[in-house]
Structures are given as structure tokens and as C-alpha cells.
Amino acid sequence: MSIRERLSGNEAAATAMKQINPDVVAAFPITPSTEIPQYFSTFVANGNVDTEFVAVESEHSAMSACIGAEAAGARAMTATSANGLSLMWEMIYIASSLRLPIVLSLVNRAVSGPLNIHCDHSDAMGVRDSGWIMLFSENNQEAYDNLLMAHRIAENENVLLPLMVCQDGFITSHSIENIELEEDDKVKKFVGEYHPNHYLLNDKEPMAIGPLDLQAYLFEHKAQQANAMKAAKDVILQVSKDFESWTGRHYGLFEEYMLDDCDFAIVCMNSTAGTAKAVVNDLRAKGIKAGLLKIRVYRPFPAEEVAEALSNLKAVAVLDRADSLNGMGGALFEDVVSSMYVAGKQVPIVNYVYGIGGRDTTCNDIESVYNDLSEIAQSGKVDNPYRYLGLRKGDM
């Protein structure tokens, strides 16, 4: 039986980590993810877990310690945000290229500068092509559930890639909300034990990792990573199916909310999807056929599936909570547009950069996007595909 509780997103993530009881957690505090290692260190001190907690002196060291632990044969986890992830950057690539299934809880926050501690997705977008599986979470429940599924996905022998579970800084990390928790022993059984085929502490098989990898080899090793990323899609679906038969909670590559019969839809990630659902409900009550596609699995990007799901729409708006500053639109927008183009699906599509640095995104903001979509659906034309939502405008 699930346990009815109320927890903040950070409490939910820390609870998942407690139930997973990893061998090693190495972390350095940074707002707004600080509470995760803080709560976890109390679990360690109270003997709720038998994890080796490594209080490192930087995020670079946190990821390095996780890499060492995971390579040695341990299950390692960490948490960070924004500039913490930036400081990990070098080691983020090492973790994925060494094929170490480390699990990271990323509490999304704007990467400086200027200094801002609030939510946007610029931290996650900075590592979107680093070979990590990336799962996004609308609320505390999804952050918890994604973490419970994380190891089975990452450690699958066809995958062996690190995985990060993202949730919105403050908006969900610091908001107390209802949540269904699972029982400790059931979690333990679902997550299972970690028995890697090859590991450094195996005295039966001395091994070397991270060798010099020059022109004759690196290309193939990168292609192997890419193949593993593609293979992760089926593994994610299989694990999600097992999770659903256990908890009753359904997860796919993305969530389709009133998408079947809709005229136009928003594509977005994390907490804004919840706000959009409320707006969709209101619009539906007025007879307006609005819909939503919420990306859960951002890496690997479910290109064929997204293109198929959006193919019959009259207009689509992609919301990016990070500006790529490239003069042509946000990262999610580019992914969706590429998916549609390659699949030969022609739908008018528009991009909105929103919520930068924690700028609040209200139901009214989302409704204005649906109003724009209604016009685009009628005219079939998109004048300016690269737009802002909630930006103060002057005479630009």
C-alpha cells in the first residue's frame, strides 16, 4: 500500500535516496538542492542508511568521488544545482564516457550570471549533450518516482549511462505537497542490488578504466554511448511498466494531456506542465480544444514518438525555460522542430522562452500562449517563431 504523505520536492528526493540506500553519496551544498544532502546526512547520522557519505569540498570533487565509487563497484548518488553542475562539468563527461550509472538529483536553477538562485533550466540544458539520461519531473511525486526507477534504467547492461532526475528549484523543491510514498522493503525489492559485471575492486579481474583513447578508438566509444542512449528508450519504458504494475502510477516517455482530439498544444517540462493542465481544463470547459505534451524523458529525446503525437495538430507552442542565446530558439524547441521535420510532419510551431531566473509563470501567461495558438491555427502562419513569455517589453 502506498503511504499518503506531504513532502517538499527536496524531501521527496532525499526520501527516495534513503529508501534506495546507495553505497556512496558525495555532495556539496548549493541552493536550492542543499536540503537533499542535508536531509540525507541526517539519515546517515541516525543510522537509517549504511551509506558512506563523503562531504567533499566542491562539486567537481563530488562528481569525482561518485565516479571513483561507481568504478570501484559501488552505487553512488549525488545532488546539485546550477553552478554546482557547472563546476562538475568536466567530470559529467567522464562519468558518462566511463559508462558509470551514477544517479544525480538536479534541482534546476539559473546558472549565473548575474547571480540568481531561482528556477530555470539553463543548468540542465548546459549538459543536455553530455551523455546523461535526463528525466524531468512535474512535482514532488514525479521526482520521487523517477528516482526510484533511475537505477534500474541506468544500470541496465544495454544502457550503463549516468542519469539525472530534474525538478524545478523552489517551485517544487521547496513546496510542500501531497505525495504517495512506497514502503521501504518494496522499494528495496524494486530497485534491487547492484552487481556490475566489471568493477575495480574485483580481485578476480584486475582492470584499467579511462585509458588514452586516440583517433583509432574514441569515435567508436562515442558511438557506443550514442547506441546506449538509443537503447535506453526501451529500457525506460520497460522499467516504467514494471513500476506501474507495482504502484499503479503510469509513466511514458512523455505525458499526453488532452492531446488526442486537441487542435493545438503546448510542449513543456517540469512544474509548468501542471499549471498548463489547469489552463487546459479551463479552456476545455469553454469548449476550446487545447492540449499538452509534457516531456518526461528529455535524453534520450523521443523524436519519433513526439513527432507522431503532434502530427495532427493545427499549431504547437514549445516552452523553453532556458534561452539558448543562439538567435534561433530554445533547446527543446530545436529538438521538437527537428523531430517533426525529419518525420515529415508539417505543423506551424512557435517557441516561447519563459520563466528565466524564477520569473513566475501564471495561468494567465499560459492562457495567452493558447490564445496565440488559436490564431496561428486559424491563419496557419507563424510570423515570429522565437518569442518571449512574461518578458517586460519596451520599444524594442
Binding site: S97, R99, E205, P206, A208, I209, G210, P211, H221, A223
Partner: protein
């Protein structure tokens, strides 16, 4: 583990370039890096034992039977010259390759 070289297809390569066996430096002959070559002058050698511990490539073989050093193993000697520097008896001289 079978040998992986620049003809190995992608599916036969280990992930991350992992090497699942120890002692494989033997498979990598560093002798072709050499531009200057140590020459062993046997008659000057007093078998003092200073040269072989400093060799970074273990390219100075020592006989297990009589603990006497023998001639260089040029498959691995990179020509660094450390042995010649430590020899107190001028039993090793460095000579340019190909001259």
C-alpha cells in the same frame, strides 16, 4: 580478452575503452619512440645493480639464476638515458639512432 586494435569493429570493443586484464603494457612496444640508444659495455659493468631499478620501462633484464643484468630489451627501451646517468662505471653510453 582478445586484442583490440585499429581494425576491431565497434561491437567487439569494450565500453569506455576498459581493459579487463592486468600487465598489458607488454603489448605496447615503446621501443620505437627511441631516438638515442643506450649501449651496454659489458667489460665495464661491475653488476652494481644501480641501473635496472631506475628504468621506467623495465627494459634492463636481470637473470633470475645469477642476478646478473644482461643486454637491453630494445622492444621497450625508449632511450631516456636515465640508466646511463646513474652508471658509475661508464658501462652504458648513449648513441644516436641511425648514426
Amino acid at each position: 580478452m582478445s586484442e583490440i586494435n585499429n581494425n576491431t569493429p565497434i561491437d567487439e570493443m569494450t565500453i569506455g575503452g576498459n581493459i579487463y586484464e592486468a600487465g598489458n603494457a607488454r603489448n605496447f612496444k615503446t621501443g620505437d619512440w627511441r631516438s638515442v640508444k643506450p649501449v651496454f659495455i659489458r667489460e665495464n659493468c661491475r653488476q652494481c645493480g644501480l641501473c635496472f631499478p631506475v628504468c621506467p620501462e623495465n627494459a634492463i633484464p636481470v637473470s633470475k639464476d645469477d642476478l646478473q643484468r644482461t643486454d637491453f630489451n630494445y622492444d621497450y627501451c625508449k632511450g631516456c638515458g636515465v640508466c646511463a646517468k646513474v652508471c658509475p662505471f661508464s658501462a652504458i653510453t648513449m648513441k644516436e639512432e641511425g648514426v
